[in-house]
Every structure is written in C-alpha cells, then in structure tokens.
Symmetry: C2
Subunit: 316 residues, 2 copies
C-alpha cells in the first residue's frame, strides 16, 4: 500500500501493509483526498495520532452495495452496539474510531477500509475536486442542525480559512446576514466575490453586535473575540478545536446569557445536496494539488497562511 503515515514524523511510504477486509466494511480505492487543518494539528501531536492520515477523500468502492461507484465516507465509526450507535448518534460512540484521526487508517493511501454504512454515493453532477469538500461542508452543515436559524440571525464568522468560508456559505444559504472576519486579504477577497460581507482583523471588533458568532479561527483567542462580538442572549458556535488551554474571562457568558455550542461533524446528505445544487462554491478554495508521494511538501504548503485547500492525487 502507498500511504502517508504520521509516526512522530510525516512520511510517504510505499510498503504499508494493506487493510484487512472486515464484515460490514468495504475497501475503497481512493482517487484523491484533501488536507484539513486537523491533519496539520495531528502532525503537531494533537490526539496523539499515529498511522495513515486523511479523512476528506473520494474513491471507488471495491465491493458491497456501492461496488464500482464513486463514494465519500463519514469518518466516525461507532461500535454499532451501544446506546449512542443504536440511537443514530455514532458520532458520539465512546468506543468509536475516526477515519484518519483516531485508531482508524485514513484516506491518504491508495486504499482504505470504510464501514459500508458510512458511505455515500457521489452523484455524477459532483466531480472529484468538488467531492473532497463533502466532509468539511458537512461539518459546516452541522450548524443549522444544532441551532435554529429560523429568525435569519445576523452572523459573524471568525476566520476566513477553509472552514470559515464553508460555514459562511452554508449560513448564507440558510438566509442569514453573514459577515466574515479574517486576517488575509486574499481569503477575504474570495468571499467578497461570493457577495459575502467581510472585515479584517486590523479593524476593531464591534462589541455585542451579532446574534450568532461562529469561531473558525482555530486559535485560543477566537472564543474571547466571539464572546465580545455576540449579542446578549446570542449564540457562539465553537467550530474549530483548539488543543491549547484557554485563559479567559467567562463572567460575560453568565451576565449576557450567551449560549456556546460545540460543533463537529455533520450530515453528508445535506452537503451533497448543496453541492449538487451548486448552492455553494468550493473549487476556488483549491490552492494546489500534489501527488501522494509528495505529501510532505503538500503538508508544508497547506500550512502556509495564504493557502486554502490542498489536494493529494493518489494516482498522479
């Protein structure tokens, strides 16, 4: 197996033992995969992960119901027996593995093993470059699943990177009045072209202005900024994990009766629907593509502040 392995250092290897077939799981021959902020964090020691990275992939199922079809896969693999799994909430199964993140080899490889229940067929209208955005777009679609947007709230998205961009687009589809605050003019210009309002971090952050603030900064400062920007009785969504400790004043959460909602993986069907309908624009987010055997260079490139999505081509 050719694969990108993190094992204290990041390496491309062409002699990795292939995954063993398993009842209920399907081998997927990967076409291409996307590098995510979480991958970069895993390489800095987050979660103590060791193994094959990659959780944004599109491939072809080798067997099972979807044999020969293009598929994407949800990344949480539950035990299928506990109450969380039986209640259709395997994303929170305490014994779950997570593809490319936790005790499950990922998609930066020519083949990976995925529970068949996790697979979603990619319709012909969605090409491969678009399909690698299903997983992060699903994460953005988790927000309307958790929070009522019925009142079409005013929204500030903190962070104009990969995930901030997708969250902003999804929230706009839901009718929200969205502003994105970011650091890099190139990333803000991309949102400007989509007709989404932007402001940059050089401008002072208004206080208590937005009903909903989504923190996609990946920075420990993001939450403090979100708590400053949100209205009383408003909602802050924590969309990015921060491995570092937070040091912050939380009295305002009580005084202003703010609701803070942690938000992780989301519905693939909603993301596929948005992409099929061309309701979100993802291809401009692709900054570069590298063959799988140049993964180390690809990771270095993906970590640059002026870069958005980097694709790894398995068959290049």
């Amino acid at each position: 197996l050719k694969a990108v392995v993190f094992d204290d250092t990041l390496q491309f290897r062409d002699n990795v033992p292939p995954p063993q077939e398993k009842t209920g799981s399907v081998l997927v021959d990967v076409i291409q995969a996307g590098i995510c902020e979480t991958d970069l964090q895993l390489c800095r020691g987050y979660m103590g992960f060791q193994g094959i990275l990659g959780h944004e992939f599109v491939g072809v199922a080798r067997s099972g119901t979807f044999a020969g079809q293009r598929v994407v896969g949800e990344i949480n693999c539950g035990c299928q027996t506990c109450g969380w799994c039986r209640g259709q909430r395997q994303n929170h199964c305490p014994d779950r593995t997570v593809i490319g993140i936790l005790n499950h080899p990922g998609g930066f490889a020519d083949t990976l093993l995925v529970p068949e229940d996790n697979l979603h067929v990619v319709p012909d209208s969605i090409d491969n470059d678009t399909a690698i955005f299903v997983e992060p777009l699903a994460a953005a679609c988790r927000i309307p699943q958790q929070i009522s947007l019925a009142g079409k709230p005013s929204v500030l998205v903190l962070g104009a990177g990969r995930l901030g961009n997708l969250c902003a687009q999804v929230l706009r589809v839901h009718g929200c009045d969205v502003t994105v605050r970011g650091r890099h003019q190139m990333k803000l210009s991309m949102l400007d072209r989509l007709g989404i309002a932007t402001c940059d971090t050089a401008t002072p952050l208004p206080s208590h202005k937005w009903q909903l603030v989504v923190d996609c900064t990946g920075s420990p400062d993001g939450l403090a900024d979100a708590l400053q920007a949100v209205q009383p009785c408003g909602t802050v969504v924590m969309k990015t994990t921060v491995a570092a400790e937070h040091n912050l004043q939380l009295a305002d959460v009580v005084i202003n009766e703010v609701t803070v909602v942690g938000s992780r993986c989301g519905p693939f069907d909603a993301a596929l629907d948005l992409l099929s309908a061309n309701a979100v624009d993802v291809k401009p987010l692709i900054s570069a593509r590298f063959p799988l055997n140049k993964a180390v260079e690809a990771f270095e490139y993906a970590a640059r502040r002026d870069v958005l999505k980097v694709i790894l081509d398995v068959n290049a």
Copy 2:
C-alpha cells in the same frame, strides 16, 4: 435613611440621604432582605460597585398601584426605550441599572426606590421569610425558561449552597432526576431530607454521565468539572458568575458537542407560583438573622462555608 453601604469597606450608616421619588418608580419600605453570594463578591470588588447593597428584599409599597401591599421586586431596571426593553428583555438593556448591584441603591435599607413595573405582589400565603427567596428562586426558574426539560434529563448540580439547593429543587419539580454534588455534609443532608440524591466532592466525579450539569459552585473549577461530568451532546448551565479568569481545555466542548448556557435572572411569577404551592422548601435554608445595624457581622457570618441564607431584619 438607615442603610448598609459598601464604599471600599462595608458599613452600616444611619444618615444616608433618602432616595428621591421618580416618575414610574415607587418607594418600598423594606421589611427584611437576604444576603446573596453576589453581595459577598461585590464586597470583594466585583463590578466595582459602591453604594447601598441588597437585591433580595420584601417590603411594603408606599404608593402606586400596590400601595400598602407587600411586594418583591425584579432587580434589572431597563431604560424602557431601547429595543431590548421594548422586546420585554430589559434584563439585557445595555443601559440598565441593577438594584443593589449596578448604579441603583439596594434593599439593605429602610426604604428603596423600585420601578413600579418591577414589583410583584406577595400573596398572603407567602410569609416574609419565604418571600426573600423569590429573587434567587426566580434565578433557578430561569433554567427551564432557557432549556427544554421535556425529556426529563438526568441532572447534576455542582454546589450544594443557596443557589445549588434552589436549582436542584426547581429541576426536580420539572421531573428531572437530580443529583447534587457538594463539599459540606450539612448542606448535603438538607438535600437528602428533601429526597434529592447527593454525592460529595471526596468521591471522584464520574465522566460523561449526566445530560445536564448546572454549575452553582461560584468557583473557576466548576466549569471544568461540569465539562467532565456532562454527556456528549449534553448541556452545561453556568449559573454562577466567577470574577476570576478561567484556565481550561475547551477542545472537549467541540469534540463532545456540548452546549454551555449562561443563566442569570429569572421569572418572579414562576418563583411566586412555586412558593405559593409549597413546591419548594426554602425556610430550612435560613441559617441566621441579624438586625440591619449588625450587617457587618451578618456578612462575615454569611461568608462561612457552613452557612446558607442570612436575613437582615430592617425593623429589628
């Protein structure tokens, strides 16, 4: 005016200028008042308050619609003109004053001025000792106003003090399966006698066990404990303000998709209904009573860890 004034130090004074009458406000002759954790924090510099303390009071309205009747008063006094006030959310008016807490003289005095709209008549079935619990009980009643308890969630209340006790009782009335975790056997025994399950802080805190955790500790450690105890997709209510900075790992809020809800003042009508119906038991919480001119001793006594509610009698 006789009053308890905080002005860098806490003092009883008998020569304070009386409040000036004001359109829309009513003079209330105070009968008695309760000392709250917030009062103790204000004396440690919280909010930078200076003036007459006291926001849990029962008195007799001197004029207006309720002249001659016993009343309690909501503590947030809005500007009555902004969008928050017009939307019946004066608790979050950015220009509000707060009785005994923020730019508004409080109820540790023989008389205070209260906006007439803030007053609620105390029915004859509720005696004065019970009536001083309307304000903190309303704060506990804020929880079911903010969060659906329809599924009768399992609840852990952190802290067995004044507010923890009231929150536990209110949540039990709403059908929740409530456990209270506290430090002091006397306070836990009081809950045991009400048939509420308890555990003490000497026992290790179970992880991810409860659907709802209410932090009433008033301690910076409370939130970390709450995040440990709450189930994935569960809710943490921050019921007490903590002036100190929090230093904590918040990645689990995202990973476990926890909702954290800040919760402050609540509905007086709900609290009065519970007290009228004898649905909560507040009198055992009274640890001691002092005359107003012994307020300094009363505050020292209220700060003891084995003490719950301390009453100040204005006419003693």
